[in-house]
């Protein structure tokens, strides 16, 4: 594996071995005073964030630091990007400084794919536009497997703004690969064109989907990506598609509630549901994110020498 661009690129074996690695990473550090492993000493990871992010950026930064890599975090604000530098020039500049991996978040779908053709190092997609967010899907799968003990045959209901959600897209691809059954629940206006070709069932009725769900994943309503015309009002959205206490009671006894964050409390998820200590895994997802990203960086960078001479864009094993 040279890059991690799409959750759909992972084979079942690769995905499961990645989750196993994450589990071992977590255990290698559990209960230790010094949370640091020497594995990626001397490697440089550049976090290239063209979009705002709290948890993903911090999580990648922590993951790289726990493996002793050097981390440079770069946000578009306050950089030459605001002077009009192109993605390619920015990438080549960072490349010239000797980065071994670039973790990129960008508002344009496909930016990481383009970047992978320009730089020698590994590229990790940390969210591109409304396209994909593979490490989020991996940490979600990791969380499900830890809580429920399996992925194969797990029934996962993904609710909300599927149209704008890179989390939903990556989750559907990954979960289908590892054998879970995904149902997407959303208002028709928030489903993408061509959703019937996705490896997932589609429903418009949340109440009907909940009693047979092992996992409910609530998506953030991405108001920054939409005009106002997708649904009549926030109240109506919340009444039809929000997860409140009444709906929580419809779930099977051991079902869990997930949310990739940041949450709109009171919109897609009620505060008391988000804070439910037994079912909500929202905080857990964040800490699992670090272990999963450590595994990704280890598997991408661990085996290769600094600045290994694979051709730009070429795949090495």
């Amino acid at each position: 594996m040279k890059h991690l661009l799409s959750a759909g690129d992972l084979s079942r074996d690769e995905a499961l071995s990645l989750l196993d690695t994450a589990e071992r990473m977590e255990r290698a550090l559990a209960g230790r005073e010094v949370k640091k492993l020497p594995t990626l000493r001397g490697r440089t990871v550049v976090n290239l964030f063209f979009e705002d992010s709290t948890r993903t950026r911090t999580s990648f930064e922590l993951a790289a630091k726990r493996l002793s890599a050097d981390v440079v975090t770069f946000s578009a604000k306050g950089s030459s990007v605001s002077k009009g530098e192109s993605l390619k020039d920015t990438a080549l500049t960072l490349e010239a400084m000797g980065s071994d991996a670039v973790v990129i978040r960008h508002s344009s779908s496909g930016a990481p794919h383009r970047l992978a053709g320009w730089v020698r190092g590994s590229v990790v997609n940390a969210g591109d536009g409304t396209h994909e967010h593979p490490t989020q899907a991996l940490l979600d799968a990791y969380t499900m497997r830890r809580r429920l003990g399996r992925l194969d045959g797990l029934r996962v209901t993904v609710v909300g703004d599927v149209l704008h959600s890179r989390v939903a897209r990556s989750n559907v691809l990954l979960l289908a690969t590892v054998g879970a059954e995904v149902t997407l629940v959303a208002p028709p206006t928030l489903l993408p064109v061509g959703v019937e070709a996705w490896p997932a069932a589609v429903s418009y009725d949340l109440d009907a989907s909940l009693p047979k769900a092992d996992v409910v994943m609530m998506l953030r309503v991405q108001r920054e990506r939409m005009g106002d015309s997708y649904f009549p009002s926030a109240r109506e959205y919340s009444r039809r598609y929000g997860l409140d206490r009444r709906r929580l009671a419809l779930l099977p006894d051991d079902a869990i509630v997930m949310h990739p964050g940041p949450m709109n409390r009171g919109m897609e998820i009620a505060a008391e549901v988000a804070d439910d200590p037994r079912r909500s895994t929202i905080v857990e997802q964040v800490s699992n994110g670090v272990s999963v990203r450590m595994a990704v960086l280890y598997l991408l960078l661990g085996g290769r020498g600094p600045r290994e001479t694979t051709e730009p864009g070429g795949r090495s094993e």
């Binding site: 074996d13 071995s17 196993d20 690695t21 071992r24 990473m25 255990r27 290698a28 230790r32 010094v34 492993l37 020497p38 594995t39 493996l67 280890y298 598997l299 661990g302 085996g303 290769r304 020498g305 600094p306």
Partner: protein, 195 residues
């Protein structure tokens, strides 16, 4: 053709002897723990502890210590799947830790193990037991307990088979031509996963 160095009975005898030596050298294996280095050091450590218990009725805590994240050769040999680290009951602080591995070669695995061990705690002392010492050390490391010293050439492979992992016990010396990877494991990540 691989040449057999040990058959199953030889492996059992060697483990018995190391168990006796361990009891002798540690004065009855008090405050001693054995830590196996995966893959094959782990079952060897369990066997060693079982023999010590059979001979003198002493319960020696057993653990495993994965050294992958501390290796210095990941860049040369590619990324490997991680194995389990299982701290022995009671921990390692103040104990005599006996590291157990199948083959002692360059000494780099043991170097990584010493670093990994440092993360678990502070043992009183550390010793090393190996089934086969094949020479070619690249670091100032030696074993305290050796099953057999085998003179080898660098490009031969010593392959240890244990019933817990491979279905049978044997130690084979393979000439240069048959070798897969330097550590005798098949290439590819998935196939290296510990069962």
């Amino acid at each position: 053709m691989p040449r057999a160095l040990f058959d199953a009975a030889d492996v059992a005898r060697v483990v018995d002897r190391i168990a006796h030596q361990l009891l002798e050298k540690t004065g009855g294996a008090r405050d001693t723990v054995v830590l196996g280095i995966p893959t094959r050091g782990a079952p060897l450590a369990r066997r060693l502890a079982a023999r010590v218990r059979a001979f003198e009725g002493v319960d020696v805590p057993v653990g495993t210590l994965d050294v992958t994240l501390h290796r210095d050769d990941l860049r040369l040999r590619g990324v490997r799947a991680l194995a389990e680290t299982e701290e022995p009951p009671g921990g390692v602080d103040g104990k005599l830790v006996v590291l157990v591995d199948d083959v002692l070669f360059s000494g780099r695995t043991v170097r990584a193990a010493l670093d990994a061990l440092h993360d678990l705690g502070r043992p009183r002392a550390v010793q090393l037991a190996v089934l086969v010492d094949r020479g070619h050390r690249e670091l100032p490391i030696r074993a305290d307990y050796v099953g057999k010293n085998v003179p080898t050439s660098r490009n031969e492979t010593v392959r240890v088979l244990l019933s817990e992992v491979d279905g049978r016990d044997a130690v084979l010396l393979e000439p240069a031509a048959d070798r897969g990877r330097p550590d005798g494991l098949p290439a590819g990540l998935a196939s290296e996963r510990t069962p």
